[in-house]
C-alpha cells in the first residue's frame, strides 16, 4: 500500500526526501538545521548526477560513435563490452603531466576550467526532476537559467586569452560570437513556451503540459529552433567551431592537459545533460507519463534527448563560422520570432472562441 501510494501520489524521490527530512528532524530537532542539511543532500545529489552522467556519457558517446561508424567501440577494458573504459580514461587523464604553457597568464589560466564548471552546475538547481523535486523551484526559473548559463561564455574567453596561444584565442573569440548569437533564437523559442504556460517557473511549465498537450506538438518550430541552438550552446558538432580540431587545434582547450582538460570535458557533458533536461522540461512533458514513476519517465526522456544530440554529432560535418552565424541571425531568429507571433495570435484567438 505504501509503495502504491509512493508511485501514484508523490513520486519516489519526494517520498525519500520527506523521510530523510523527518530523520534529520528527529536527529537535530531543529527545522533550520534540517532544511540546511536537506539542501546539502540536494547539492550532493546534483553533483553526483553530473559526475555519473559524465562517466556514463563518455562511454555512451564512444559506443554511439562506434556503432554509427560500423565499429563496435570499447571492447577490452572491463569485459566484452568495455564497461570500465571511462574509468581507464579518467585514470589516464589524472596521471598525465600538468603542463603549464610558457608566457600564459597563470592565475587566469588556471581559473578558466574551474569557473566554467560553476554556471554549468549552477543551473541544475532549477531543474524539476520529478513532481516537486527541484532544488530551487523559483518563479523566474527560465530567466535565471538563461542568465546563468550565458555566463559560461566568459570562462571560455578567459582561458582562450590566458593561454597565450593564437589558436586558443581565436577559439575563445569564436565562443563569444557563437554562444551569444545562439542565445537570441534560444530565448525567443522559449518565449512561445512561456506564453502558452503563462509562467517562467519550470514546474509550472511541466504541469501546463500535462493539462494541455506536450509542447513539442504545440510548438514544433520552437522545438526545432531550441534543439539547434542548444547544440550550438553546448559547442557540439555541427557547431563545434570552438574546438574545431582541423582549424584551431582544440580552441581554448589547446593548452590544457590532464585534469584541467578533464574539467572542460566534464563541463561539456554536464552541458549536454542540462540541454537534454531543458528540452525534456520545455517540450517533452517533463516527468509526465503513464504507469512508471515520474523520475523514470524523466530519465528516459532525457536519455533519449542525449542520444539525439549524440546522433547529430556523429552524423553532421562541421559548419563554417560565417555560415553558422548567418544561420543563427538570418534563419533561426526570424523563425523564432514568427513562432512567437503565431503563438500570440493563437492564444488571442482562443480567448475569443
Amino acid at each position: 500500500m505504501d509503495i502504491l501510494n509512493m508511485m501514484m501520489g508523490q513520486g519516489v524521490v519526494s517520498t525519500l526526501a520527506d523521510q530523510l527530512h523527518n530523520l534529520f528532524m528527529l536527529l537535530f530537532d531543529n527545522a533550520v538545521v534540517a532544511g540546511f542539511l536537506m539542501k546539502c543532500v540536494g547539492i550532493g545529489a546534483i553533483l553526483g548526477i553530473i559526475s555519473v552522467a559524465a562517466i556514463v556519457f563518455t562511454y555512451g558517446e564512444r559506443k554511439v560513435c562506434a556503432f554509427m561508424q560500423v565499429r563496435i567501440g570499447p571492447n577490452r577494458v572491463g569485459g566484452r563490452f568495455g564497461l570500465l573504459q571511462p574509468i581507464a580514461d579518467m585514470l589516464k587523464l589524472m596521471s598525465k603531466e600538468d603542463i603549464i604553457p610558457q608566457g600564459c597568464d597563470r592565475v587566469v589560466w588556471a581559473l578558466g576550467p574551474m569557473l566554467l564548471f560553476v554556471p554549468t552546475a549552477l543551473i541544475y538547481a532549477f531543474f524539476p526532476f520529478d513532481n516537486g523535486v527541484a532544488l530551487a523551484d523559483v518563479n523566474v526559473g527560465i530567466f535565471l537559467m538563461l542568465a546563468i548559463s550565458s555566463q559560461a561564455v566568459l570562462p571560455f574567453l578567459i582561458s582562450g586569452y590566458a593561454s597565450n596561444s593564437k589558436y586558443a584565442f581565436i577559439g575563445g573569440m569564436r565562443t563569444v560570437a557563437q554562444m551569444l548569437s545562439y542565445e537570441a533564437p534560444m530565448v525567443f523559442s522559449l518565449l512561445g513556451v512561456v506564453m502558452l504556460s503563462g509562467s517562467m517557473r519550470m514546474s509550472d511549465i511541466v504541469n501546463a503540459q500535462s493539462e494541455q498537450l506536450w509542447f513539442i506538438l504545440m510548438q514544433p518550430i520552437a522545438f526545432v529552433v531550441f534543439v539547434i541552438s542548444a547544440t550550438a550552446e553546448t559547442n557540439r558538432v555541427p557547431f563545434d567551431l570552438v574546438e574545431g580540431e582541423a582549424e584551431i587545434v582544440a580552441g581554448p582547450f589547446a593548452e590544457y592537459s590532464g585534469m584541467r582538460w578533464a574539467l572542460f570535458f566534464l563541463a561539456e557533458y554536464a552541458n549536454l545533460l542540462s540541454v537534454s533536461i531543458l528540452t525534456t522540461v520545455f517540450f517533452l512533458g517533463g516527468w509526465n507519463g503513464p504507469f512508471l514513476p515520474g523520475v523514470v519517465w524523466f530519465g528516459l526522456k532525457v536519455l533519449a534527448m542525449v542520444f539525439v544530440f549524440m546522433w547529430f554529432r556523429w552524423t553532421f560535418p562541421r559548419t563554417r563560422i560565417d555560415q553558422m552565424l548567418a544561420f543563427s541571425w538570418k534563419i533561426l531568429l526570424p523563425l523564432a520570432l514568427v513562432n512567437v507571433l503565431f503563438t500570440g495570435v493563437g492564444i488571442y484567438a482562443r480567448q475569443w472562441m
Binding site: M68, V70, N75, W314
Partner: protein
C-alpha cells in the same frame, strides 16, 4: 526542402547504428580464410597417403623430407613427413601434385615462432604413427600367414607328390 539532406544523413547513421558491425575482435574472433588460401601448416591425411613421394618431388625448394618404409609385403608407408616451413614458399605445388588429395593447408596464418627448430613441422601425427605401426604389423602378420599357407601348401604338394 531545406534540411532534407540532414535528415537523409541521420537516416543513414540510424541504419548503421542498428546494423551489423564490421569489426572483428581479432584474437578472440578470427575471419574465416578463403577456400584457396595458402598458408600455415600442411596437414597430411595419413589414411589417404600412399607414400608415393610425388609431393616431395614436386617441391621446388626441397622443403619436404620424407621417410618412407616398405612393409613386409613391399608396400610403402609414410613414417615421417617433415615440412620445412622456413623453406616453403607456399606455391601449393605439393598439394596439387598429390593424386590422393591427402595434403591440405590448415589455414592458420599465426605461425611465427621463436626458434628455427620450431619451423620443422612433422606432419605424421601420433595417431598417424600408430596407424603406421598398425599397418606394418598387419602386413607382417598377413605376410607371415601367407608364408605359412604357402609353406603348408608346398609341404602338402611335396607329400602329395611323394604319394
Amino acid at each position: 526542402m531545406f534540411g532534407e539532406g540532414l535528415l537523409t544523413g541521420m537516416g543513414v547513421t540510424w541504419k548503421h547504428f542498428w546494423g551489423k558491425k564490421e569489426t572483428f575482435c581479432y584474437p578472440e574472433e578470427k575471419l574465416p580464410m578463403t577456400e584457396r588460401f595458402r598458408g600455415g601448416h600442411l596437414v597430411l591425411d595419413h589414411k589417404k597417403c600412399i607414400a608415393c613421394s610425388l609431393c616431395s618431388l614436386a617441391c621446388p625448394n626441397q622443403a619436404i623430407k620424407l621417410k618412407i618404409v616398405p612393409d613386409a609385403k613391399k608396400k610403402r608407408h609414410m613414417q615421417s613427413y617433415v615440412h620445412l616451413v622456413g623453406r616453403c614458399l607456399y606455391c601449393n605445388l605439393c598439394v596439387e601434385a598429390c593424386n590422393m588429395h591427402a595434403l591440405s593447408w590448415d589455414k592458420n596464418y599465426a605461425i611465427s615462432s621463436w626458434h628455427k627448430e620450431e619451423m620443422e613441422d612433422e606432419l605424421v601425427t601420433a595417431e598417424g604413427l600408430a596407424y603406421f605401426h598398425e599397418v606394418m604389423e598387419k602386413a607382417k602378420a598377413e605376410a607371415e600367414a601367407e608364408a605359412k599357407v604357402a609353406a603348408e601348401k608346398a609341404e602338402a604338394e611335396k607329400t602329395g607328390g611323394d604319394a
